[in-house]
């Protein structure tokens, strides 16, 4: 079948309503205003979000940016004050129960009962979703295996380590095999090893079950390592979106840091003459020069040769690709890390 024919057929199918190209999440102008004594607080100021089936999308922003508020709206925990949303094919306002059946949600902070045993929590969670006990037991055992909970499945929650408890909480969100999973800062407070371990589990969700994952984080490494696409949220608004690479490319270059023994201003002139399009800064209180330049990897040897030819001794050299933190800094003038 030719491309033209395929397209024509698709158009007919679409017009007949037999095929729908569905987003897993679509929001338009979704907003939430909280009333407090000091007046109205616009926690989320009208966000448009589109998440396709099977994507892992990161929601990145400092604390207080409105990430959790947005997530709580999308998971039916709070009502939006404006805007519309369709989540997993169900309208957020008219069919919240339909949304609840289709999504898994792992809240920020804890969501397990300290006095409960791990396996009991999984069985109860299955019961909350109306899964019959036999099927629930089967699901619990599958998740105990998938999330490697076996060695502590009969321990009470309060005896677990932070990483173990978090794994239990993520596994609880999967009991009913949801096609869409919301994870609110799933790795906050975990050591790097537990964090990497949890990332593997999140990737497996998509690979093995085709789940769509919407994850909030203020860890750049997390967004980088895990997400197909990142939405950057600041002050209740989405200020940028794209793949991590696209966002970094948008920043306009790599960062080369050179430390020289000798006159920094002279070194600056040498570099400016040697390469084109470089922005050179000399931060106070050091001997470093910060050079922002496109294609830093191929420009670096030129810079070093020029400094050498001018008789300057280079003490240290660093080449850094821009991080998402740099992206954030450029977009907002704020560092994502300082906020934490």
């Amino acid at each position: 079948m030719g491309f033209e024919t395929q397209n024509a057929l698709l158009r007919i199918a679409l017009s007949m309503g037999t095929v729908r190209i569905m987003n897993m999440i679509t929001t338009r102008g979704l907003a939430r205003t909280f009333r407090s004594k000091s007046g109205a607080v616009n926690a989320v100021r009208g966000v448009d979000i589109d998440v396709a089936v099977g994507e892992i999308v990161g929601f990145l922003g400092p604390n207080g940016a409105g990430k959790t508020t947005t997530l709580r709206m999308l998971t039916t925990l709070i009502d939006p004050t404006a805007g519309d949303a369709t989540v997993a094919g169900h309208d957020l306002r008219t069919d919240p129960v339909g949304v609840r059946r289709s999504i898994g949600y792992v809240a920020q902070g804890h969501s397990t009962e300290r006095a409960a045993q791990v396996r009991e929590e999984l069985l109860d969670q299955a019961a909350f979703y109306g899964i019959d006990p036999r099927e629930g037991a089967k699901r619990a055992d599958e998740l105990i295996e998938a999330f490697e909970l076996g060695s502590f499945q009969n321990k009470v929650i309060k005896e677990l380590s932070g990483g173990q408890r978090r794994r239990v909480e993520v596994s609880l969100g999967m009991v009913h095999s949801p096609k869409l999973v919301f994870l609110d800062e799933p790795t906050t407070g975990l050591d790097p090893q537990s964090r990497a371990n949890l990332w593997d589990h999140v990737r497996a969700l998509r690979e093995q079950h085709g789940s769509t994952v919407f994850i909030t984080t203020h860890y750049l490494e997390e967004a980088d390592a895990l997400c197909d696409r990142v939405l950057i949220l600041d002050d209740g608004q989405i200020i940028a979106s794209g793949t991590p690479d696209e966002l970094k490319r948008g920043i306009g270059g790599d960062l080369i840091t050179v430390e020289v023994d000798g006159d920094r201003d002279a070194a600056r002139d040498v570099i400016a003459a040697a390469v084109e399009g470089a922005t050179i800064e000399t931060p106070e209180g050091g001997r470093a020069l910060r050079i922002t330049i496109a294609n830093g990897d191929s420009q670096l040897p030129i810079i070093l040769r020029a400094l050498d030819a001018a008789g300057m001794t280079v003490a240290t050299v660093q080449l850094a690709r821009p991080s998402l933190d740099d992206v954030f800094l450029k977009l907002t003038g704020k560092s994502l890390r300082d906020e934490n």
Binding site: Y105, S111, Q125, A127
Partner: protein, 253 residues
């Protein structure tokens, strides 16, 4: 029905957690046992005072203690809900399609169950002190305690659901519980009170529950006082559960 199915799930879960921490089940009993041991004997003399109701001191005092247990054993149940709110457990339930009312009722019925056990222990402990326990007294006492537990646990959960914090809950409960206690004739019968105080206490449904229960402990099976007591406690349970249900539905759309 879904709400009943979900209520049983929450009930089973809460009972399991309560059994895992048996210490506080005993702690809740400590206070009424102190009253029984350290205050009850005082009444043996007072029982001869004109105006003291019929029956020996213990058949007057134990019904009061049971009602006190029913109220104060559950009035602070909201703290448990706040802990569940804070631990994210209520949100986890709210994101699931389960019934919101089931979250309330599962917890309320757990509290009522705990109260049955405590009330039975307390009543039996009173026997060596001189209580002449009959079956109708035991059954009547348990029915009263269950319905009181349902009433006051519901109120406590509803306040906790709105306040979401311990301090307002403590404030509200401290404001309302002393008059409720003092105007019910739990410690000393209201028949000893001056006329105006008796009129005020007549407006307190708990007072009628205590009066009805005292009749059962005295040996009556059915009379108008017992009837009024049953009516008062049933009405309280219906009103409190209805109010708490509405609150839960409003707070958890």
């Amino acid at each position: 029905m879904k709400v009943i199915h979900d209520t049983l799930i929450v009930y089973r879960r809460q009972i399991r957690h309560s059994l895992r921490q048996p210490a506080w089940l005993v702690f809740a009993l400590v206070q009424p046992v102190f009253y029984l041991v350290l205050f009850g004997p005082l009444l043996e003399q007072v029982a001869n005072t004109p105006g003291f109701p019929e029956g020996n001191a213990w058949s007057v005092f134990v019904p009061g203690l049971l009602v006190q247990l029913g109220i104060f054993g559950t009035l602070f149940a909201g703290f448990g809900l706040i802990e569940q709110l804070r631990d994210g457990i209520i949100d986890r339930m709210r994101v699931s399609p389960m019934s919101r009312v089931a979250i309330l009722m599962g917890n309320v019925l757990r509290d009522a169950t705990v109260l049955i056990v405590q009330a039975t222990i307390l009543t039996v402990l009173a026997i060596p002190f001189g209580l002449n326990l009959t079956w109708q007294a035991l059954v009547g006492g348990l029915i009263a305690v269950i319905l009181l537990a349902i009433s006051f646990a519901s109120i406590s959960y509803a306040i906790a659901m709105v306040a979401k914090d311990e301090e307002p809950l403590v404030g509200v409960l401290n404001l309302f519980s002393p008059p409720l206690l003092l105007l019910s004739g739990i410690l000393l019968p209201m028949t000893l009170a001056p006329q105006w105080l008796q009129y005020v206490s007549d407006a307190n449904p708990v007072k009628h529950v205590v009066d009805g229960l005292r009749q059962l402990f005295y040996g009556e099976l059915w009379n108008s006082t017992v009837g009024w007591g049953l009516f008062a406690v049933t009405l309280m349970a219906v009103v409190c559960v209805a109010g708490a249900t509405r609150t839960f539905q409003r707070e958890n759309p």
